[in-house]
């Protein structure tokens, strides 16, 4: 099962520690107590969600089995559009105000996980659209605005990977994280208006009422996606933090190397220290 692998990664590094009290096993993973708990929640809720979403809940009157994508697609979309990029926005604002490294790295971590979720939103949306609308892609306001946001945050990630002064790069990324969020809102509303001017009704994704088992399956999907998101963001943040530390160490090493290169250079060129 895929979810097993998710939890496995977070817990294996620490389980060694539990076995031998007093012995400090080298911590080699980005996992911790918190991510282990979240990993278990993610595992359980995903298993339950699969059971309820795919097997136990009834097919919809109008949509048939394709309603089952609702339990997956909507939570993924909520996490990507409302949670991930809001964290990026907040992190970017705080970073610009006080230069906080924590918030800078968190903004980047949330954005990367958010882009993955946004990509999955698009894919599941298209797979849902084929049986319900008859085509993979409709020029629906939501689809269009989501696609534009996807490209926009790909751009954000590209800026974070630029080879330049880290401080300046973080500031540029933060500007993009702020203005990009505003743009996402603008795109969303503008494409809605564009459709509303042309045709009266937008496509209702779900015509029947959601209740009972369906609602429960949806709630499970939400819990599953939220916990997976939390797990991923925590790990991604720690990765970024480790990278930050590694870079600091590299800088130390580069400094030492640079200094010794200086000593050698002085000796070779015979530049005596000048007098005042």
């Amino acid at each position: 099962m895929t979810a097993d692998q998710i939890a496995d990664g977070s817990s294996s590094g620490l389980s060694v520690e539990d076995r031998a009290p007093g012995y400090k096993a080298p911590i080699l993973s980005t996992g911790s107590e918190a991510t282990r708990v979240i990993g278990v929640i993610a595992l359980l809720s995903t298993a339950a969600m699969l059971a309820f979403g795919l097997l136990i809940s009834p097919p919809d009157l109008f949509q048939g089995d394709s309603v089952r994508l609702f339990y997956l697609h909507v939570p993924v979309a909520i996490v990507a559009l409302y949670l991930a990029f809001t964290i990026t926005l907040i992190g970017s604002v705080i970073h610009l105000v006080n230069g906080s490294t924590f918030w800078d790295l968190l903004a980047g971590a949330a954005a990367e996980v958010g882009v993955v979720f946004l990509g999955l939103t698009l894919v599941t949306g298209m797979l849902w659209g084929r049986p319900t609308w008859g085509s993979y892609w409709e020029w629906d306001p939501r689809l269009t605005s989501t696609a534009v946001s996807f490209v926009l945050y790909l751009g954000y990630l590209a800026v974070r990977k630029l080879d330049m002064d880290p401080a300046a790069r973080s500031r540029r990324a933060a500007v993009l994280g702020i203005v990009g969020f505003a743009n996402t809102i603008i795109v969303k509303y503008s494409v809605s208006w564009w459709r509303s001017l042309h045709q009266g009704s937008t496509l209702k994704p779900l015509d029947s009422q959601i209740e009972g088992l369906m609602m429960f399956s949806f709630a499970l999907g939400l819990v599953s996606m939220l916990s997976i998101f939390a797990w991923l963001v925590m790990h991604r943040f720690r990765l970024a933090w480790l990278q930050h530390r590694v870079d600091a160490h590299r800088l130390e090493a580069a400094l030492l190397e640079r200094r010794s290169e200086g000593e050698a250079g002085i000796a070779k060129s015979g530049l005596a220290p000048g007098g005042a």
Partner: protein, 250 residues
Amino acid sequence: MPNPSKISNDDPAAVSGRDHVASGTDAPIVQLQEAVSLIGQFPALAGVNLVVGPGEVVLIRGPNGAGKSTLLRLCSGLASLTSGAGRILGHDISDRAGRRAVRREVGLLGHATSLYDELTVEQNIRFWVGANRSDETMVEPVMHRFGLDGRLRSVRVAGLSAGQRRRTAMAIVVCRRPSLWLLDEPHSGLDEDGRTLVDDLVVQAAQSGATVLIASHEVDRVSELAARTVVIAGGRVHTGEQLGDSTDAS
């Protein structure tokens, strides 16, 4: 120390600092402690300790890639201070507002001349003089002094030789009347006339009380002008024993 106002009042084209001596403080102009500055991810400056007092003329020498240019950029407030401490002209350069304040008061003559190829010499000078909020009345005398007022005035910068570009860039820096001069290989690409111009510039700047840092390979020539030499290699200063006794050097 000579009176700076005498020179600057007689000849508007003469080099001068902005009443630096008149303020009467002996606080160092450049004060760097273990300053580290990065170019991308590379530590171009690997812990520089340097103190330069007001009115000093300092030659900075060292092999290629030693960090001379970055040191001047750091002193100009352009490069950022990754670690260590630094005060330039009394402003803390670990702070963005401090760096911004430093930038307005220095005159940096680097490898780049920061001229717009499509504009004429005069248009370039007038734009930068306006942008720098320099004294507009200095433009004509300074252009005359650097030999830019004749045919060259209306020649596009793209058509200039390297030496003529540097003269134009120097003219702009002179109009800024900086308190701290940062000259990066100022003699390179210049003919004998131009080189003498540079030397005069340094002498007059020093007489007016401004501080001058010159990064140069032309040790013999610059040693005549500079009261002190600092050797830099591998991103560090290698004249440790002189630190601290610099304020009385001029």
